[in-house]
């Protein structure tokens, strides 16, 4: 009763053949992957100063040192919190501003790069490439270069993170845009609305919840990024942490205080953003 164009010969043999082929490919893939993993591990182990197995028992040495230095000075923690709070604020500000500006740029870029929305459809590949490059650029690269020109402080970090954020969010936003309903936009086009009006009134209301959700996620990532950039001289809490950590024994109490501050901030924003996003997604219905 089969209507298939190539009538079945022997389903048993066919299947076994297919299964063996699949098993071969699957096994080969797994073997290559395992080989890569194991040889990669051995290579990394070899090129590392200390070996993995010999280092494993000492994993807690550093935390133990920190603990031994900081625990007796626990009474100073609140004071340290107060001292370093302004730096934390700077870190959060860097993240917030770069998320805001980066998202704004991303909105425009993503629309210019989405088929159906683009102002210049021929230039879509240009904007796509541009976003790829912005996204591929690690923040630290831009920050360090800018520090040379602009001097230390929050601004190089802010620009660096903004740049990367624009690329990263741009890609996500354009994925959201692809799913936007084009009908309202055509409707607006038919009344003679300009491009900005079409985007603002026709697209933004549709995609805003998704934008917002991705923006929040990015904000959380950017807090880490801005803390990290402090390590290379871009100010904020990362700068303080690096100095205290570098000094080591004698200032581990400060390091611990800064670490706790930073950790709590990250966790709080992480939880906050996942709550809000959950809410958005459930409310938005998609």
């Amino acid at each position: 009763m089969s209507l298939s164009p190539n009538p079945p010969h022997d389903p048993r043999a066919n299947y076994i053949q297919m299964m063996q082929r699949k098993r071969l490919y699957g096994g080969l893939t797994m073997a290559i992957f395992a080989l890569l993993l194991v040889s990669g591990f051995m290579l990394a182990n070899d090129r590392n100063a200390g070996g993995f197995w010999s280092g494993l028992p000492h994993v807690l040495d550093f935390p133990a040192d920190v603990w031994a230095d900081a625990a007796p000075k626990v009474d100073q923690l609140p004071g340290h919190f107060l001292t370093f709070f302004p730096s934390l604020l700077e870190t959060i500000n860097i993240a917030a501003v770069s998320t805001l500006i980066g998202a704004a740029i991303a909105v425009v870029l993503s629309m210019l790069a989405t088929r159906g929305l683009a102002l210049w459809p021929r230039a879509i590949p240009v904007f796509r490439r541009a976003m790829d490059i912005m996204r591929a650029m690690p923040e630290i690269v831009i920050a360090l270069v800018l520090i040379f020109v602009l001097g230390g402080g929050p601004v190089p970090a802010m620009i660096a993170i903004t740049f990367h954020t624009a690329g990263a969010l741009g890609k996500l936003f354009s994925e959201v845009n692809e799913n936007a309903d084009l009908k309202p936009i055509e409707g607006l086009q038919s009344v003679g609305a300009g491009w900005v009006q079409r985007m603002w009134l026709g697209v933004i209301p549709q995609v805003a919840p998704n934008y917002f959700s991705y923006g929040l996620l990015r904000f959380e990532i950017n807090i880490r990024a801005s803390a990290i950039l402090g390590f290379v001289g871009a100010g904020g809490i990362g700068y303080e942490l690096k100095n205290a950590m570098s000094w080591g024994l004698g200032k581990f109490d400060e390091a611990a205080a800064i670490f706790i501050l930073l950790f709590l901030t990250i966790v709080v924003f992480d939880q906050l953003s996942s709550r809000v996003r959950q809410g958005l997604i459930h409310k938005g219905g998609h």
Partner: protein
């Protein structure tokens, strides 16, 4: 409803919308203004050193050759970027340098010409300005400039510095130095010490044997690989180490996070406190950033790629653990029921009821992280001492080898984009073609 009521309610509606429409940007604008002052943007504009920026940009596409005369013994040396590794061997001079006796003439471009005169003298013909002559007399710099020193000349008793569009000249008691800028990345393929310097590709491939001890191909590749200025071999290794860190970290984390994900998923672990504990562990691993893990781990494992890989592994175990457990909480129980109803053992239930469902989700998340971890590995490498990130940050911090900086940046961009492409390709390939 009467028309006037409708009018009013609509006007109210629009007033409210306008209010929101203004309040929202206003709040953001206020915040930006606050940050504008908190970050001292105005002061920044003053402090910004655009000349540094110009140096940076110029260095990325050009290089300078130093012609240096040691004023104590009168010897002249020529070196690219003033580095020993870029020194011209004895007897070899670039075409724009002419030496006759004690006099060395250096032809900067556009009619600029510098001459090293005997007795530590210096003569610089600047088109459209005239001739600047200077010498060390009684251990002090003497010039023909008189009182009118143009602003592109910096003069003190012990030092003269002239900066023009064509190059730079400096004169001190110890040495006289001329910098000539040329376009390109000089010595990118071979330094002067290599016999292959100055040979074209066709020469090397098809020409007669250049180095009697090695075949052309082998010698050319070796000397390129070990080029002492650019050190391509080391750079390639560094890129490889970076990718290795990302690869080991990402997949190691995925392997560890999978069983832990089950322990944190509501539908697979009924013991609330255990679930809670595992989740807090995830939060902790994630919250302590990879960079801090790097520092913590470098005590036990020392500098190197393994330390970086482990740092990525720890952070990502947190991220994956959270994502995996969420994916697990969304699995379709019907499939598990179906497998369970045949009398399958618990492991078999996971293997056939759960794994096929979550693999596409997990795989796509893991592969997405692979690309982003290549970027993280670049940063982490800058701290632990490994990979392209270290080379890059160090080159930037020493603030002179901007051409190397741009070389590294280009390589990093290519590397990340490559990883993006690879992970995207794998994602499409595996998730479409993959079967349990």
């Amino acid at each position: 409803m009467a028309a006037s009521d409708l009018y009013q309610s609509s006007e109210r509606l629009f007033r409210r919308k306008q209010l929101i429409g203004f309040a929202f940007p206003a709040v953001i604008l206020t915040y930006l203004v606050y940050v504008f002052f908190a970050f001292d943007i105005l002061g920044l504009a003053e402090r910004a050193r655009w000349d540094n920026g110009a140096t940076l940009v110029r260095d990325t596409y050009s290089y300078k050759t130093h012609v240096t005369r040691d004023n104590r013994n009168g010897e002249t040396s020529i070196a690219v970027e003033g580095e020993r590794k870029g020194s011209y061997p004895d007897g070899m001079v670039p075409p724009w340098v002419a030496a006759s006796g004690d006099t060395v003439t250096i032809d900067l471009k556009d009619g600029h010409r510098v001459t090293f005169l005997p007795n530590n003298g210096l003569r610089y013909e600047v088109p459209g300005f005239g001739v600047i002559e200077a010498a060390i007399v009684n251990r002090a710099v003497q010039t023909n400039l008189g009182d009118t020193v143009p602003d592109w000349v910096s003069l003190s008793r012990s030092r003269l510095d002239i900066t023009t569009d064509a190059g730079r000249v400096s004169l001190t008691r110890n040495k006289t130095e001329v910098f000539r800028y040329s376009f390109g990345w000089e010595l990118f393929f071979y330094t002067f010490t290599s016999p292959y310097h100055g040979h074209s590709l066709t020469d090397i491939l098809f020409g007669p044997q250049i180095d009697p001890t090695r075949s052309n191909l082998i010698g050319a590749v070796q000397d390129f690989w070990y080029n002492p200025m650019w050190q391509h071999g080391m750079v390639v290794w560094a890129m490889f180490e970076t990718i290795l860190m990302a690869f080991l970290g990402t997949f190691g984390a995925a392997i560890i996070a999978l069983p832990l994900g089950f322990m944190a998923a509501r539908n697979f672990n009924r013991i609330m406190p255990a679930r809670f504990a595992v989740r807090r562990v995830f939060d902790f691993l994630r919250g302590v950033d990879g960079l801090i893990w790097t520092i913590v781990l470098s005590r036990a494992f020392g500098p190197g790629p393994m330390t970086g890989a482990l740092a990525i592994l720890l952070t990502d175990t947190g991220s994956f653990g959270k994502m995996f457990s969420e994916a697990l909480e969304n699995v379709d129980p019907k499939q598990i029921d179906g497998v369970a109803s045949t009398g399958a053992k618990p492991l078999q239930r996971y293997r056939f009821g759960v794994i096929p469902q979550i693999t596409p989700v997990l795989l796509s998340q893991v592969l997405y992280y692979l690309e982003s971890n290549t970027r993280s590995a670049t940063i982490i490498g800058a701290i632990t001492g490994g990979g392209i990130g270290l080379l890059l940050t160090q080159a930037i911090i020493t603030q002179k080898d901007w051409e190397e900086v741009s070389y590294y940046i280009i390589l990093i961009l290519l590397m990340v984009m490559l990883m993006d492409t690879v992970s995207g390709w794998l994602r499409r390939k595996l998730i479409r073609g993959q079967d349990a």
